[in-house]
């Protein structure tokens, strides 16, 4: 059973990581805890579902559409709400509150359009295929999720680590003013980041919607909570952190469910997070500046 549980942990961890990816990107660059990320994730799910069931779109096209729609939403949130807030020198918690409002709007709009009941992807859209390797049951969808999580992470990581763009984003994250003095188009990069992050949220919504099989207007809410834990654990804005944090949470949960008690899954996960923060106050990958004065 151990092998199966490890696989379970890997998938769950990847699911968390996938969600956290866009979340941490916005956090890292815009320094905003975007609490509408859960709702944007949900929109991704519904968008793909609609494309599949109303337009008979193939899954890959539906994914693309979902990314486009949620990305656009993210961009709109940035242009219409976050940008004016930046221009007005809003205190740092204000944008977060605005995104709560956005989340509420999107959730109730989704309920208005699709109803409150649980929806599912038609069975034939699910990537078929199931293997048994050494007693371990593996579904194609799970492989897809793990693979996509790792690939996206790797792409994003190298894009940000090795390039001028990555440095620019980190510069913006620290000080938009200083960055603009270097010729960095701060607003432009904020927009791009918002789009990409939301699009990542959208694709996460599709994949998890496929896997979890229960699409509801509220589906983003619990993910938000876990996602927040993941990005903090990983260290804010750190792409690697999102993956490691996600996997960590996944493993902590699965292992404690499997070997302690399933009652304790979340308690163990959050208890560990709590303890880790006490030991590493900036998360696993958070960078610490020592200089005091």
């Amino acid at each position: 059973m151990l092998e199966q549980q490890l696989l379970n942990a890997l998938t769950l961890g990847s699911v968390y990581a996938l969600f956290a990816l866009g979340f941490t990107l916005v956090f890292g660059v815009l320094a905003v805890i975007n609490l509408s990320h859960g709702a944007i994730f949900m929109v991704g799910s519904y968008a793909a579902l609609w494309l599949v069931s109303h337009l008979d779109a193939p899954l890959w096209l539906a994914m693309l559409g979902a990314m486009l729609l949620s990305g656009t939403l993210g961009l709109l949130v940035d242009v219409l709400i976050l940008k004016p807030l930046r221009a007005r020198n809003a205190p740092h918690l204000t944008p977060m509150i605005a995104t709560i409002g956005v989340g509420i709007m999107l959730t109730s709009a989704a309920q208005g359009m699709f109803g409150a009941e649980v929806l599912r992807f038609p069975e034939e859209t699910l990537p078929a295929g199931e293997f048994i390797v050494g007693g371990v049951h593996v579904r194609a969808l799970e492989i897809a999720i793990v693979a996509i999580a790792f690939i996206l992470m790797a792409v994003l990581f190298t894009a940000l680590k090795r390039t001028q763009l990555g440095r620019a984003l980190r510069a913006i994250a620290e000080s938009p003013k200083a960055a603009s003095l270097l010729g960095i188009n701060v607003e432009g990069l904020f927009h791009v980041t918002s789009f990409v992050a939301a699009a990542l949220g959208g694709i996460a919504g599709v994949l998890i919607g496929l896997d979890f099989n229960a699409i509801t207007p509220q589906m983003g809410q619990p993910m938000l909570h876990k996602g927040l834990a993941v990005i903090i654990l990983g260290g804010m804005g750190d792409i690697r952190g999102a993956l490691i944090g996600g996997l960590f949470l996944g493993f902590a949960e699965v292992i404690s469910k499997a070997y302690l008690s399933s009652q304790m899954g979340d308690a163990v996960a959050f208890g560990l997070l709590f303890l880790i923060l006490l030991v590493r106050p900036s998360g696993l990958f958070g960078r610490v500046l020592e200089r005091k004065a």
């Binding site: 001028q164 440095r167 980190r170 603009s180 003095l181 960095i184 960078r287 200089r291």
Partner: protein, 237 residues
């Protein structure tokens, strides 16, 4: 001598306090110009307006024949106007090398960038020693070197310096002024805001004296240096 930058009737306010009250001045291409004045006179405010971080409430800023007073900061940098800001604006969570690399954000010729980097390291060997360290952990003077070095990385047409000698050791101050003269000789136009008025006026072709938001004196550097009023107010007798 052509005019590189012409400022006409520039006014800047913080809320309803007008810190710069309609000033006129110009910078000749290839020259060092000094802007001096007491604390709170409006020097930094002027520079911030030039680089687009503050919006002018009135007036125009013409750079190379083009009005840049409405452009966002990052586009002004692309025009070649680069500022070393007061308080340095270094990126503390990035390493020294990363800060320098970002200085060249608007350029893309890799070889040329590497050459500039070598030059900067030559001027400030200390930065090379500390290349991998978080900029936030640098000493005050090292941060100042980084700020200047980073501005040079952009290969600017016009360099705006806000108190570059602040926090530098005497030897280093001499070094900085020597460097400024040198890069100016290679054709770079410089606007220098300094509290080290004597040194600044020594190397400046022209100088402006600003008091409570207004320009009260404009003359050649040498004349200002000899001016008894300036002597009394800024050179400390």
């Amino acid at each position: 001598m052509s005019v590189l930058l012409r400022v006409h009737d520039l006014a800047v306010s913080y809320g309803h306090i007008e810190a710069v009250k309609g000033i006129n001045f110009h910078l000749n291409s290839g020259e060092i110009t000094a802007l001096v004045g007491a604390n709170g006179a409006g020097k930094s405010t002027t520079l911030l307006a030039l680089s687009g971080l503050l919006r002018a409430t009135r007036g125009t800023i013409e750079f190379d024949g083009q009005d840049i007073s409405r452009l966002p900061a990052h586009q002004i940098v692309r025009h070649g106007v680069v500022q070393v800001a007061e308080g340095r604006a270094i990126l503390t969570t990035l390493t020294v090398a990363e800060n320098l690399a970002l200085g060249a954000y608007t350029r893309d010729d890799k070889a040329a960038i590497a050459a500039t980097l070598a030059e900067v390291y030559e001027i400030f060997p200390r930065l090379k020693d500390r290349a991998g360290q978080f900029a936030g952990n640098l000493s005050g003077g090292e941060q100042q070197m980084l700020a200047i070095g980073r501005a040079l990385m952009a290969k600017p047409k016009l360099l705006l310096l806000d108190e570059p000698s602040m926090g530098l050791a005497p030897l280093m101050v001499q070094e900085i002024f020597r460097t400024l003269v040198e890069i100016n000789r290679k054709g770079l136009t410089i606007l220098l805001v300094e509290q080290n008025v004597r040194q600044a006026l020594k190397i400046a072709r022209h100088g402006y004296v600003i008091e409570t938001g207004k320009i009260v004196l404009a003359d050649s550097g040498a004349n200002l240096l000899a001016n008894p009023e300036v002597e009394a107010a800024y050179l400390g007798g």
